[in-house]
């Protein structure tokens, strides 16, 4: 202790202290900084396999190196496939696991397809390769998908009604957007895909990143959506959950024809 105290004014002490401070700060940062992508599980082989799969299946639209594909058509610059730099593993998982990518046919928006043509392992490796193109959102931790265990559906409901209900409807049934686009129904969507959709903003959906809706917020929203659909529709015929337009049509077609039929029956002579 005495020796240390005696040498505290040594010219090397300041350099040593600086070194120590840098090491501690760096170590703390490495320990607590947000991790981009689940990098630990990714191997070089996987990335290489992902790149090969990408170039075989995705490159015609997104470019050989995921740089996107833009071309001039009639003097107008049109994008045939966006750049995937910074798209992140979460976007690849969402698009491919719901069958939206590879795009079956070009239209106003990619549609959910029930038959997935890729193995989970292949999707994982393509996601691993796309994640190397630039920092982007990674797959969410299991902790934030445990809506049954720790999700607060009541809190999720208030967030859902402010942030999601305008497009996906208060019943989670989806709804129309401009020019043929639509917000899809949320019924039966995997929790991880709801999370990744919020995180990446697929198609024309706005991005709700983890600073806008925190992972807790997202988990609560998932809990709300899942519980809403689990409770179901105790009233009977939901008419698609589309609201007053569908209900009015039903009332006009069925209610009015029953009333007219009854009026005709009442007015008929007995003989």
């Amino acid at each position: 202790m005495n020796a240390l105290a005696a040498r505290r004014r040594h010219p090397a002490a300041i350099a040593l202290l600086l070194m120590l401070a840098l090491v501690v700060t760096g170590g703390l940062y490495a320990a607590f900084a947000p991790k981009p992508a689940a990098a630990a599980a990714v191997t070089a082989d996987q990335v290489a396999q992902g790149k090969a799969l990408f170039q075989a299946n995705c490159a015609s639209c997104h470019g050989l190196n995921g740089e996107g594909n833009e071309a001039e058509v009639g003097g107008e610059l049109r994008s045939f496939g966006p750049s995937l730099v910074g798209a992140g593993a979460a976007a690849v998982h969402f698009q491919m696991e719901t069958g939206r990518m590879p795009l079956a046919n070009p239209g106003v928006q990619a549609q959910r397809v029930s038959k997935i043509k890729f193995e989970q392992e292949e999707i994982d490796s393509i996601a691993a390769w796309v994640a190397t193109l630039g920092p982007g959102p990674a797959r969410p931790d299991e902790e934030w998908l445990d809506w049954e265990g720790s999700g607060d559906a009541g809190r999720g409901g208030t967030i859902y009604r402010s942030n999601c209900a305008m497009c996906h409807s208060s019943a989670g049934a989806g709804g129309a957007l401009t020019r043929g686009k639509y917000a899809p129904s949320l019924e039966g969507v995997e929790p991880v895909h709801i999370y990744e959709a919020m995180l990446t903003g697929p198609q024309n959906m706005p991005v709700f990143n983890d600073t806008n809706l925190t992972p807790e917020d997202k988990r609560d929203v998932i809990a709300y959506v899942k519980q809403m659909h689990a409770v179901g529709n105790p009233g009977g015929l939901g008419l698609g959950g589309f609201g007053p337009a569908a209900e009015a049509l039903f009332a006009w077609v069925f209610g009015l024809s029953i009333m007219i039929g009854t009026a005709v029956w009442l007015g008929q002579k007995g003989a």
Binding site: S162, T211, G270
Partner: protein, 388 residues
């Protein structure tokens, strides 16, 4: 009357022995009619249309055949019986079926509330049975002879009218209305004034009486309304709806949409909070700065982050359907579409004015704040809008 184009023996007509005569065909015809190729009638309009009278009475099956009448009786009784069963079933379902239980019904899914379903069906049967039974009874068994009741003048007889007048005037005389006019005016005044509270309530509930448009001119972004009606603008922070947390510009990545309220709005009591929210709601979006067509949109925003009123200028629905690639903002009520890159001008639908933009900047601590309140009243138009 019997259809002349389909001659059938008519038992009610004494002159008819099952055959129609030439007179039958021409009797009531006003225009020329072709019957089996022969044209009958004159083709002109008659001087006046004769009252055709009642059509001949057609006896019903149950009038002619006692067995048919008994059958109808049983049908009516069955319909009433269905109603009785429905009512009893309703009572049973009400007490026996727990509210939580769910059942499957084809076409309605597997989460149909058993209680709701049974209560609805049994109540429907009990009402329908009574109605259908009554109608069937009336149509098969109750007398159905056609009858005519002539109208008579509404005016009473002269004698009755004179007598009524005498009674009324005599009553007024006895009550002292003519001798003591003060009573007449006092009672008239009391009854007349009594109507005023009703009128005041109806008129008062139409809105504030003192310059009602003032309530529409300001939002919570101007500051909270003080007791003297003034507001002090304090550059409120933008906070997330409903989390009530301030927002840093670096958190708003490109393509993001934030639903925003002014700081302090969530501290209001629920009633005033809802009222303030209906005017102050804002949608915050970030676009690439090069995407903007309008210079003002860029200047009033912060590094491509722009904030627009979420209240539609058509009839005030929340315009929240933002498409991050087309930069269209769609109102779900009437499909008004606004172009975020071009000052939120209307590109489709019934709205007539662009959405008002909220000028934003960043405060000393790096949070997004409103640099000035909305420059124009938000939401739908009203007569005094231009007066501000």
């Amino acid at each position: 009357m019997a259809d002349p184009t389909n001659p059938t023996p008519d038992a009610d007509r004494p002159d008819s022995a099952g055959e129609y005569t030439e007179a039958d065909y021409t009797r009531d015809l006003s225009t020329a009619v072709s019957l089996d190729g022969d044209v009958v009638g004159t083709g002109g309009l008659p001087e006046r249309f004769e009252d055709p009278g009642l059509p001949p009475h057609q006896p019903r099956m149950s009038d002619l055949d006692e067995a048919a009448a008994t059958r109808a009786e049983r049908q009516v009784a069955t319909l009433f019986g269905i109603s009785i069963i429905g009512t009893l079933g309703f009572l049973v379902a009400y007490f026996a079926v727990p509210v939580e239980s769910r059942m499957f019904f084809p076409g309605l899914g597997s989460t149909v509330s058993t209680s709701n379903f049974l209560l609805g069906v049994t109540m429907g049967l009990s009402l329908l049975g009574i109605g259908a039974g009554a109608v069937h009874w009336a149509k098969t068994l109750m007398p159905d002879e056609e009858a005519v009741e002539e109208r008579h003048p509404m005016r009473s007889e002269e004698d009755d009218r004179a007598q009524f007048g005498e009674i009324m005037l005599g009553g007024a005389e006895d009550a002292g209305l003519t001798r003591r006019p003060l009573l007449k005016y006092a009672m008239g005044g009391a009854l007349g004034l009594f109507a005023l509270p009703m009128v005041v309530q109806v008129v008062g509930s139409l809105g504030p009486l003192d310059r009602p448009w003032r309530r529409l001119e300001h939002t919570f972004w101007d500051g909270e309304e003080g007791p003297d009606g003034t507001r002090e603008f304090t550059r409120p922070r933008l906070v997330r709806d409903p989390q009530n947390t301030p927002i840093r510009p670096e958190e708003v990545t490109i393509g993001s949409a934030y639903h925003v309220q002014p700081e302090g709005l969530f501290d209001l009591d629920p009633h005033h909070q809802l009222e303030a929210k209906a005017k102050a709601s804002v949608l915050l979006m970030r676009l690439h700065p090069d995407d903007f067509v309008s210079e003002k949109a860029r200047d009033w925003g912060y590094e491509g982050i722009v904030a627009y009123s979420k209240i539609c200028t058509h009839v005030g629905c929340p315009v929240g359907l933002y498409e991050q690639h087309t930069h269209h903002l769609l109102c779900p009520c009437h499909q008004s579409t606004f172009d975020v890159t071009d000052d939120c001008k209307v590109i489709f639908g019934p709205a007539k004015r662009p959405l008002p933009q909220l000028k934003i900047t960043v405060d000393d601590e790096g949070y997004l704040v409103a640099d000035q309140p909305f420059e124009e009243p938000v939401g739908p138009s009203y007569w005094e809008r231009e007066r501000r």
